[in-house]
Amino acid sequence: MTTNGWVQFGLLGMTVALLTRPTGAWLVGVYSGSFGALGFAERAIYRVMRIDPNQDQPWTRYAEAMLTFSVVSMLMTYLVLRLQGMLPLNPQHLGAVAPSQAFETAASFTTNTNWQSYAGESTMSYFSQLTQFTFHNVASAATGMAVAAALVRGVSRKGSAGIGNFWVDLVRGTLYVLLPLSLVLALVFVQQGTIQTLQTPVVATTLEGVTQTLAMGPVASQEAIKLVGTNGGGFFNANSAHPFENPTPLTNFLQIVAILLIPAGFTRMYGRLVSSPRHGWVLWSVMGLLLTAGGAASYYAEAHGNPVHAARGVDVVGTATNPGGNMEGKEVRFGIPSSTLYATVTTAASSGAVNSMHDSFTPLGGLVTMLNIQLGEVIFGGVGAGLYSMVMMVILTVFIAGLMVGRTPEYLGKKIRAREVQVASLYALIFPAAILVPTAASAVLPQGLAGLANAGPHGLSEILYAFTSTAGNNGSAFAGLSGGSTWYNTLFGLVMLTGRFAMMVPVLALAGFLGEQGRVPDSSGTFPVTTVLFGVLLISVIAILGALTFFPALALGPVAEHYLVNAGRLF
């Protein structure tokens, strides 16, 4: 571990902390309706859709609109992928995508997961990448943000049947947040070397006279939204490790900031709109603490390297000229610190973009990436998704605190009654079920075992990671697992849809229930949610819930592997 490595960690923390307040203010303007610079475009879109933007939807209508939009856009992508061979902008003449692959990919992008069981450069045409994946990167991100905005309204409103208008939230999130941010970021990326072209692959003659074909494509535009929208689906197979996606250490830093920007801003927006800015900062700090802990653990593990490789003559001690540590599956320009920082942030924040191969991390480094997702994507989390997942944890925490003192729990002036707790419990149960049930099935059935690239406990880790990532709508992978089989494609598709929509609907229900209530004034029995004590309690609930659920599986996977590797045992 180097001083410079820690400086990079510190710089990231400072940058995100400084950007949280302005981003929050911006989000407040967008979702409370006070921004209107692009009103002409908005009104034109609403007119074509024939909707009334002022109509306030109850939670059932909001959920219905969200689901209908998602189904329609997913069907469109399925059709485009199946018809790819007949569509334009396909200089490589790539053919139709197989049915199970097309289903999985359509589900993957619709759910903001971007799990990719194909290699982009040799499977997807420019047409598919542009019109489908870039579109979903924006639309799925805007959907997550809309659901979070609806929840914020539910918490902040009094005796209101409505929680906002899904169509308006979707359009405004796209026009005022995602597109402008992506536009600027894409051009910065190009300046640094990310490609943006529609030409065919370039053929070069290397210095040793060999032909090298260089994949091309409109990469920068997809790269920007892939990060801003915490999508994570790469243009190329190697994702953000590919020099055409992430050419320099500076783009790498900006990518990490871009992943955290909107999720961090949402905590500020939440604090402001529920009239408790301090509560927003408590959530931010809890997220920041969990992120720092994971990052430090990952950096420590990767910088110490793999004892098995050290025993075979690799110098794992980092110096000013030798990266040291575990460099399998990492790029020299990033080295150990920028790789572990990226891996921690991308799994914590539900992005799933990778600049190093998590499958080749040391057992403990890999454990951090997996645990980050398993804690429920609450460590900043996906755009919107991070906030609403965290609020679910807060509801559970407030409920448990209420049980301790024997009073009806209250949260920001709302009574947390049986049905609110039922919704939060449902939310907390669906997620582990969606991970552990298919993991168990795949670990015993031949169809599941056929895809493994590694034997022993690492094989189990590959399966566990895959379902963790798909259920958490993360999209990163222990990529050795061949996820392209019909078995995995089908299961992944279903798990991703469950992990997204079976969790969004309870969130909207909660928004509706809370919005209907009036506001009870604080009393001496109200448990304050703006204190350090509350933060500690919240971290405990998150850690205990995650640990109790996933510890047995993790013990058989990365923890077992850690001890075996240290004993020199190989598979």
């Binding site: 490790a241 399998e328 020299v332 050795g480 075996l564 590797v565």
Partner: protein, 194 residues
Amino acid sequence: MRTVPLRPAITLTTVLCLLTGVAYPGLVTVVAQLLFPFQANGSLLSVNGEVRGSALIGQRFTEDWYFHSRPASAGGYDGMTSGGSNKGPSDRALADTVASAVAAVVRVEGGTAGAVPSDMVTRSASGLDPHISPANAALQVARVSRARGISRDDLRQLVARHTELRQLGVFGEPRVHVLRLNLALDSAAARRVR
């Protein structure tokens, strides 16, 4: 009877598809091609009008008179594929690959087992890593010097000239650009013949 909101869903899908899938990438393409055409088209390096590679994409070098890139992944530095080995830390095949790579460094470069730079015997994440660490390059100087008949000091100076420092003094790690270094070696050799 109420029906599901199909019409707004379909129209909005269409509108957003055009806006985000056509207008946005189209605008980025046009502006990028106008402002940064070199980068937007792949930072291609040409010698005498012939494309010899990209400044961002690594190449495979096997000859003694070139500095070598990191060990190749399955794609073998073909620009149409990318990715790492995805072998886990307890994988026997990976440990064997690393062991034989270390043995090769000891044999070919005269390195010492236990002091082999970590990037020299491991595969990158992209399989296209254009860089090696300064320690890795330093170990290769003796071999290239023998093959080219250039003094080690001259080579070390050349390596230093193609070593990129941390960006803005902070970001990333110091690294040597293999393709640019080898291009410089070739042009230095050409000057000497003349």
